[in-house]
């Protein structure tokens, strides 16, 4: 089958459609919902960052618990996690170790705590980023939890959950072409296919703008104090990219261009069928602190 060419006009079409749906009200949105939809939880807590930005581990744990409960409609965190993970699972927690904005250790520990609560033995859990291709837990994993910070990215536009699996291939740079549009393909490889139970974007201190691969600028990082959580990685990334874009517009007074538009998110939907990239078909559940929520 010939692969569809995704052009700029596809983005213009989606933008026009979303605007039109909002203008016309529930009728057209109702029609849109006849197509597959996704649920994403955004949870925020004003107290999660203490003095000098120090993460409050207990508050972060409660945020994660509330998010997973809301996502899965369970009354207690344990029940929610039991819908995701079995005690017999071998679980790889795919984290992100980029030195300037890594996945918070407190968030990794909060996830591990709930995996242990479900009954997964400690020896069957590992948390890693680079080196997963040589990691026995990841090589034999029956379940994955995908967690990383939300930020802009030189080659992918945004560094979000889809991008986080690039360490599962031996030559990550081979996926940088065409705005990393083929990132979704990685999710079809046996080492990860069908294994991801939960996707978490740490939006505690997202980076909404930047340029160049190694350039980190504190001016473009802000204390949003949130987590974005879902089972659909495309929908989670769509919400994350939408948040960063909204912040850029507020900060710069315009949607200042990223190094590359995050085309890989739409490609993950339209080409690899990994989830929903249409904002009008994502049910965003907002929980907690709503001051300057932006989306």
């Amino acid at each position: 089958m010939k692969e569809k060419i995704v052009t700029r006009r596809d983005f213009l079409r989606v933008a026009a459609g979303t605007a039109m749906a909002a203008t016309l009200g529930s009728g057209i949105l109702g029609e849109a919902r006849a197509e597959p939809t996704a649920k994403v939880v955004l949870i925020r807590n004003a107290e999660v960052l203490g003095d000098q930005g120090k993460i409050q581990g207990e508050i972060l744990q409660s945020m994660l618990d509330e998010a997973v409960k809301s996502l899965l409609g369970a009354p207690e965190p344990l029940e929610a996690w039991q819908k995701l993970i079995k005690s017999s699972d071998i679980v790889g927690v795919k984290s992100n170790s980029w030195g300037k904005l890594p996945t918070p250790r407190e968030l990794e520990m909060a996830i591990k705590r709930r995996l242990l609560d479900v009954g997964v033995p400690d020896k069957n859990i590992d948390i890693a980023d680079r080196g997963v291709l040589n990691n026995p837990i990841f090589l034999s994993a029956t379940a994955l939890v995908n967690v990383r910070p939300l930020r802009t990215h030189h080659w992918a536009g945004v560094g979000t959950c889809l991008k986080n699996y690039i360490q599962f291939v031996p030559a990550p740079w081979a996926y940088h072409d065409e705005g990393c549009s083929s990132l979704g393909k990685i999710w079809t490889y046996p080492i990860v296919k069908g294994k991801t139970r939960l996707n978490i974007l740490s939006a505690l201190t997202p980076q909404f703008y930047g340029r160049g691969a190694n350039f980190f600028d504190k001016r473009y990082v802000w204390p949003y104090k949130g987590l974005i959580v879902g089972t659909d990685p495309v929908a989670v990334d769509t919400i994350g990219a939408h948040l960063l874009r909204t912040k850029r517009i507020g900060f710069f007074g315009e949607d200042r261009a990223l190094d590359v538009p995050p085309v890989h998110i739409m490609a993950a939907d339209k080409t690899y069928h990994l989830g929903v990239s249409d904002l009008s078909r994502i049910h965003l559940i907002k929980v907690g602190w709503m001051e300057e929520v932006l989306i």
Partner: protein, 298 residues
């Protein structure tokens, strides 16, 4: 002031027979002193240093990179990266690709913002930055940059293609001008399609620039192909993938209510994206057509 100089790099001249060019980098500036380590990278090892960004430099004919780090007590370290490219056009290309801040008058083109100094001179592109912030370290970055620029003896030419695009009289935004050598880089600056529908390759070159027309941004893309056949093939490919609704014309009003125009002029392709009116697009195309070789005679 910079007072001590060390030989940092000896490079070959651009052409055989030329005397080898000796590049000096400063060993001290503003109280920051070189740590004495001379890091070198070639096209095979650049990925080790960049961790994902090397494609940009390789696309512009990267030859080698020298990295020096400078230290001062109780201050953040400063890093100088000296990239030797295969030509001055390539050095300009790397500089233009990420340009967004105000010029600071260093080298042949420069910018300084967010603690990062970038400039080009001759066939060299230079990046100077610190691991932290502060007035003192920013001053040192600029001193380091000026000294590094002075150490590069030869000037170089900008790409000739730049001379064909319309100027400020039609709303050109200077900082937006990018000289591009590949489809991947074009998409990074202005996404057109995830496939290479304009058939860009090693023998093509392009200039992308932004114009403000009626307070609205339009993008202008000028591409030079090696010959008429390749520009003709690219024109057909673009029309088929991007403007299938043009119905035999060279334009279409896109989903955002703006105009996209495309023209072939001999071995050149000219495209305007996002023009608020057809007249705005025509003005950019006409001005370019008059500047292209043979343009006045058509």
């Amino acid at each position: 002031m910079v007072s001590i100089f060390t030989v940092a790099e000896i490079v070959r001249g651009e052409e055989k027979g030329k005397i080898e060019q000796v590049i000096f980098l400063p060993a001290e500036a503003g109280g920051w002193r070189w740590d004495g380590k001379d890091e070198k990278y070639n096209s095979g090892t650049l990925f080790d240093y960049m961790d994902g960004a090397a494609e940009l430099y390789l696309a512009y004919g990267f030859q080698n990179l020298t990295v020096h780090r400078f230290e001062k007590s109780s201050q953040p370290a400063v890093t100088v990266e000296l990239y030797e490219m295969s030509s001055s056009e390539d050095a300009y290309g790397v500089f233009s690709f990420e340009r967004q801040d105000e010029a600071i008058g260093i080298g042949q083109g420069s910018e300084f913002g967010g603690g990062l100094l970038r400039f080009w001179k001759g066939k060299y592109f230079v990046s100077v930055y610190a691991d932290g912030e502060g007035v003192e370290v920013e001053s040192a970055i600029l001193k380091m940059g000026r000294a590094s620029a002075n150490s590069i003896p030869a000037l170089g030419l900008e790409p000739k293609l730049l001379g064909f695009i319309p100027g400020k009289d039609l709303g050109l935004v200077d900082k937006s001008v990018r000289y591009l050598k590949s489809h991947v880089l074009l998409n990074q600056r202005f996404f057109i399609a995830h496939q290479n529908i304009l058939n860009l390759n090693r023998k093509t070159e392009a200039v992308l620039a932004q114009y403000i027309r009626d307070k609205q941004k339009a993008q202008f893309l000028l591409i030079r192909y090696p010959n008429l056949k390749e520009s003709g093939d690219a024109y057909q490919s673009f029309m088929k993938a991007y403007l299938p609704d043009a119905r035999g014309k060279d334009r279409s009003k896109t989903e955002d209510g703006n105009w996209t125009f495309v023209r072939q002029r001999n071995e050149f392709i000219l495209i305007v994206f996002g023009a608020p009116t057809a007249d705005d697009a025509e003005a950019l195309l006409k001005a370019t057509g008059e500047k292209l070789p043979g343009g006045q005679r058509r």
